[in-house]
Every structure is written in C-alpha cells, then in structure tokens.
Subunit: 319 residues, 2 copies
Amino acid sequence: MRGTSSDALRELARARSVVLTTHINPDGDALGSMIALYLFLQRRGIQVQMWLDDNLPVMYSFLPHLDKIARPPITPQPVDLFVVLDAGDASRTGSSGHNYRGRSLNIDHHLSNSDFADLTFVDETAAATGVMILRMIEEADGGVSKEMATCLYTAIATDCGFFRYANTDAHTLHAAARLVGYGAEPHTISEQLQTMPLSRITALSKVLDTLEVSGCGRIASVMVPPGIASTDVEDTEGFIDYPRNIAGVEVAIMFKPSAEKETVKLSFRSRRLNVSDLARSLGGGGHARAAGCTLKGSVYEVKPRVLTRVLEALREAGL
Amino acid sequence: MRGTSSDALRELARARSVVLTTHINPDGDALGSMIALYLFLQRRGIQVQMWLDDNLPVMYSFLPHLDKIARPPITPQPVDLFVVLDAGDASRTGSSGHNYRGRSLNIDHHLSNSDFADLTFVDETAAATGVMILRMIEEADGGVSKEMATCLYTAIATDCGFFRYANTDAHTLHAAARLVGYGAEPHTISEQLQTMPLSRITALSKVLDTLEVSGCGRIASVMVPPGIASTDVEDTEGFIDYPRNIAGVEVAIMFKPSAEKETVKLSFRSRRLNVSDLARSLGGGGHARAAGCTLKGSVYEVKPRVLTRVLEALREAGL
C-alpha cells in the first residue's frame, strides 16, 4: 500500500522493535538517512537495529554511530517493523531483505518502486531520501539533533552532487539550510568527503596521462591502465568528468581494459549527444548523457572503432 | 557614513545616472552582483553603466549582459552615483575608481573596509555580496527575474565554493533556495563553471606526475613544471587541493619554480598546522590553513630545506 509521511510515522510509532536497512553498495544518502532515523527512533524509546549486507565505504567513516550497524543475522529474526530506506526493491538490500519476519515499510525517493513492502512511502520529487527523513522528523517532533543534522546533510549533499546536479531544487536547498540551522557544518562535512586515499590520486595521474583529444576537439578520451583497472571501482569513479569538462568537448570516453578477460569496459559522457542510443547500439545502455558498454577485444582494436562510431553519431546529430 | 540596506536603496532611488563597478581580477560574486544590480536599476528606469578595469575570465562568459560592461573612460565622467561592489577599498577598482565625479556608494561583505565611499553598506556576515544584492532587490520590490537569479546564484555559489566553505551558513542556503525559486538552474550554472580549457587538464596531469608523499605520509607535495608555471595563474589554481585531500596528509606544498628568476613560489595548505606562522618565518604570509612565500634558489635547493622545516613544525605542534 502506498502511504504518506504521516502513515509512515504512524507505522513507526506502533512498533516496539524496528530494523533499518538500506541498499548494498551504500552511498551517503543510504547511510545518512538510516543513521538519522535510527537516532530519532532510539530517542523515542524504540528498540532499533541497523543492518547492512555490505562493507562501509571509507569516505563515510566520519558519520556517527557506524559501530551500531551490524550484518544481517543468518536466520530470520522476528521484528515488529522492517524499514528499507533509499531502495525501491527488496533485492537491493542483499541478505537483509530475507532475514526478518514482520511488517515492512519502504521509504524511498526513486522513481521505480516494486511495492514490495506492506507500506510504501515514495516521494520521487525529493532529491534524496534524506530530505524525506528530515521532513518526517520535523513533522513528528521537530527535534533534529546536531548528529542527525550531520547525517542528513551528508545524505542530501552527496545525492545532489553538492547542489550541482539537476535534482537540486529549492526544497533541497531549504532542507540543507534548515540542517545547518540544526548544527550541520557544511565545510566540515565536505572536507571529510573530499579526503581520498593516495591510490586515487596516483590513479588519476596515470589516467590523465592517457588523455587524447580528437583533431576536431569534440571527442576526448582517457584510458585506465590495466594495473589500475583491476583495483577498486571507487578509485576511478568520476575520472571521466575531466575529459568531459574540457571546453568544446561534446563526448568523453573512458576505456577500461580488463587485465584477465579480452574485453574493454567503456563509459560515455556527453554534453548534448544522446550516448544512451550509442551505447545501446554497442550492446550496452544507460542515460542520455551518461552511458556505457563492454566490448570484446583489446583496447587497441576497440578504440579506433569506437571513435569512428562517435564521430558518425555526432555528424548524424548535427553536432 | 555607514548605512543599511534601506539607506543604500534610498541612495539608488535618488540617482538618475548610476555607474556600477567592482574589483579587478573579478570573480563570480563581483560580476554576478554587478549584473544583477544593473538589471534591477535598468528596470527602474535609471540610466546605468557597468565599468570594469580588467578582462573577463572565460569561465564567466555564460553570464548575461557581459557585452554591456565597458572599460572606464579616460577622463572623469559626471554621474549621480558611483557604486563599488564587492570591494572594501577604491584602489581595488583599478582606474574605475578615479574616473567619476559624484557621490559614491559601497556595497560589500568583506571584513576590512576603508570607508572610502560617501555611503558604505557592509554586511561581513554575508557569504557573498550576491546575498546582499538579493536582499536589497527583495526589499525594494521582490521581483527577481530569471537572469538576475542566474547572476546572483553564480555570485553566491562561487564565493562559498559551491556551499563547501566555512562561510556557508543557513542564510546562504536559504538565499540559494529562493534564487532557484526565481529560476536559477544550479546544474546549468555549475556545468558552465566546471568547463575548463584543455590546457588546464594537461597542466593538472603534469603537476600530478610530480606528486611525492613523505615517508611518514603527513606531507605531500607537487611541483609545477617550469613550462606550465609561466602561463596563466588560473591554470594551476586549486591544484594544491589534490595533495591536500589525501588521507593522512597534514601539510600540502606546491612548488612553482620561476623560469626566468632563480626563485620558487611556495603554497602551503594544511589540515591542522598553522602554516601562516610557517610561511611568515620564510618571509611570506597568509591564513592559518592556506599560506605561501617565495624563496630564492632552484627547486632542488629549496625543496629539501622546506620539507625539513615542515617536519620540524609538525613535530613542534605535536602532529
């Protein structure tokens, strides 16, 4: 059943024991929303646990109460209410989603939702689940502590790219402003989030060394050298933004050859061209301005072929 | 005389002809605030000009009405009111500040102000002059057009590092939220501001190739190879943030040897150490977490000497 913020609050108020969980590969919105709701429920005297079927990314290690997050149990555990945050489907929660017995509540801001829970509270206009949790706490009693504010500011800021993405609307910024009023410190949070392992900087250096711009200046590409490609995904995330942000570049491509398999993973970013169509024609998919695919062969075979395709696509689109 | 927002508005309302100007080396706040006020005054039927004694940085070329900005005249021009925005001293305006005859109004958010104008409206708690201009327009008639909103959002977002710096408070975020309500598009503006020349990316690549981290992991340094150091300052601005953001690094240093002179320009960034003291002891200066100096000698002479000094300073500070 679909419900409102008040329905969700009523459901939470009825429960004596609550388990909170979120999606695997958790991001700032997943963790920040979960911990803020945990603190809110704990204050109301509800017995509350947090489950996570995945490891915590290092960059969020500054969030409070991470030590209260536990792995889901091996055998199903009875609980009054099982709450899934920031995920539109139970499968996204890993093993957490199987190991409870009780009613379920889903709070999420994603457009696609499988209505897997007994009660589903979705607001797809919210820039982050953190915005929804903030409103719920304000609606319930208005008491947002500094710790809650830090968690929710992290949730919101990371999900809208620090107020740079298209999902940043007036509500997002007003929510962030209220959180600063409750004690969140934007500069402290952003400083924590900007801290990165040395391996990421050395990887960036090696990737930027491979930068090539086409003669016409409209296509820029980088390659992730095989030694780096085999390490953590996190380490090269966002690197494609460097070729993407060059003045005059319409399409940026990142080639990531696999060391073991004879394949190359490709990422596309664009300013105006629909790279989703392009990626689909190569057996991949994605969004209009951010897409990808995986091709067989070495990077030396794949690259000229792809560049020709991109040039054709640009010509067809009149760009 | 010091005055309020209402005093400034009264001063503007009395004038038939107004000249607006701002500081040399203009940034987003300078340009955005000036153009927004220009549009407001123009709408009120006031004859208004914009003067700028400097070139426009390429990154702001998306702002509207840049073609209305002119160089200051050679000989002094009579004007009812001369308005200096985002600068606390007339000397910061270049030749604009000399080439008018009339009353003057200064609108600024910087702490130090020389009270050079007939009326000075300063709010040092505002994160940007753009916040002050927004409030003035809202106070006067509330009509903030989409173009004004774009200018003022750019002004505010750039002056607080896209809501990452310590000057980001609840007022800053509420102001940004209202501007989005008036039509500013955060993602369009940030995309424009992120666009950079190819030369900047290739410079970054070359600078990151020089990254060195001390054995203890607390000092990270990069060097700007001489070929790059001689080009535009803009091209290496912010590069020191890469070593600065490495986990565990307390002090980041950027060495910029001069090709012509036998000198090396040093920049320091720190997490906790007072690098202002350090820079001062080397003949330079700056802020507690961001400072710099220029030393005689080649980078090969200067570097080991400076690293030893930084290690000593860290030891003394117990870091």
